[in-house]
Subunit: 230 residues, 2 copies
Amino acid sequence: MEKKYYAGHSKIFVAVDCIIFGWDDSQLKLLILKRNFEPAKGKNSLIGGFVRGNESLDEAARRILFELTGLTDIYLEQINAYGEVDRDPGERTISVAYFALLKIQNLDAELIKQHGAHWVPISSLPKLIFDHNQMVQKAIHRLRRRAKSEPTGFELLPRKFTLPQLQGLYEEIYQTSFDNRNFRRKVLYMDILKRLNEKDKSTSKKGAFYYKFDRKKYYRLLQNGFQFDI
Amino acid sequence: MEKKYYAGHSKIFVAVDCIIFGWDDSQLKLLILKRNFEPAKGKNSLIGGFVRGNESLDEAARRILFELTGLTDIYLEQINAYGEVDRDPGERTISVAYFALLKIQNLDAELIKQHGAHWVPISSLPKLIFDHNQMVQKAIHRLRRRAKSEPTGFELLPRKFTLPQLQGLYEEIYQTSFDNRNFRRKVLYMDILKRLNEKDKSTSKKGAFYYKFDRKKYYRLLQNGFQFDI
DNA sequence: CCAAAAGTGTTCAGCTTACACCCATGA
DNA sequence: TCATGGGTGTAAGCTGAACACTTTTGG
């Protein structure tokens, strides 16, 4: 039997809640579901679950995302721990919030539906249970910070994307609009995008060139003190 | 008896560890102690403790700081939760790290000593137990971010301080040196410091004017979209 | 009177911002 | 041929970085 060093101290339920962002080529969205157990059954909730005795916090978050999406290589980052005594009216539970970035295109829509999950635009979020709205606000701030200083935004885009798409994504993230000349210059000047000899003609007759993110070049530049910045 | 909603899920020990920074007018320091219980008894450790069933994470952090220092109005900010299964060789414990800023001058040195705690310069940290060094590194990054964009640095200084002192503090935080003309211009231009008609002659014959942070003015400026930046 | 720290302005480069027209093409 | 979205360059202002001398005064 395991040695008991900390007998006398309280144990507490620990959960993980995932703020899952997706981009559907025009809007930044959040994946939520109707909670299917008491308390607050049927209410809008983040996707979450309890941390098991034999898994780390990160592993718990990955497991929960895998159960929902079948995907394993998801961008994931811890936001914060929430620990108010009464935050969960069921029993005292501490929750660690994670934010995740998904390419919606990669997603099995059927699987999402089976879990009772659905996407809502971040510009019109419903009321969520407990402190989940607060978690989402923090996650949005974190996303903005990350997207500015690391090529995190590309996690939301398909492998090949156009500059108007990229700009649209950033405009959604920051809920603002950018001058396209300035935006393009800044992005291209970093020299981490490779232009393909192929155009997306789905949104215009002229067509927009596809680009892809050159991960190798990016890491090479990082070695030399390069700092991503949009 | 309380309703048991979450029976069947595992409960886990939850601890709080505090990264306590102090400034002694020449060096940025971290408060650590020799752990006085097993496992790892006698090793260098952050100041921490278990979260009780009836207190929030923030309350636990405040309690631990109060027990150590007798102070209640300490700047405190959550960093992150650490949840690797084996991070604590005693029993499985999740730890939530907090960083705190203390004016060393306000501190009862005797009280600190009674707890077996002591200050070490952040430029030469010893090996700490578990993942505590990792927590400290994150805290230093957070401190740098905060000190740049919010007047958090003043939490480390006495109520009245000189500009050379302020610059020295920032140089320690960023482990670099600044041009004094540029630094002074930038700080004074924000117009949130009030110069007192009083000089500190302890470090020079000419004497350096004391300033104090004008909190009211700062909050007034914030209302008008002002952004603190050093 | 002198050593030692406090205090003071200006210039240049680079980055950010603002701004308007031509291009390509399918319908 | 025309409507639509894609693509391009330049000038002005602002911010950050570099840089050296004067002032004060206790010892």
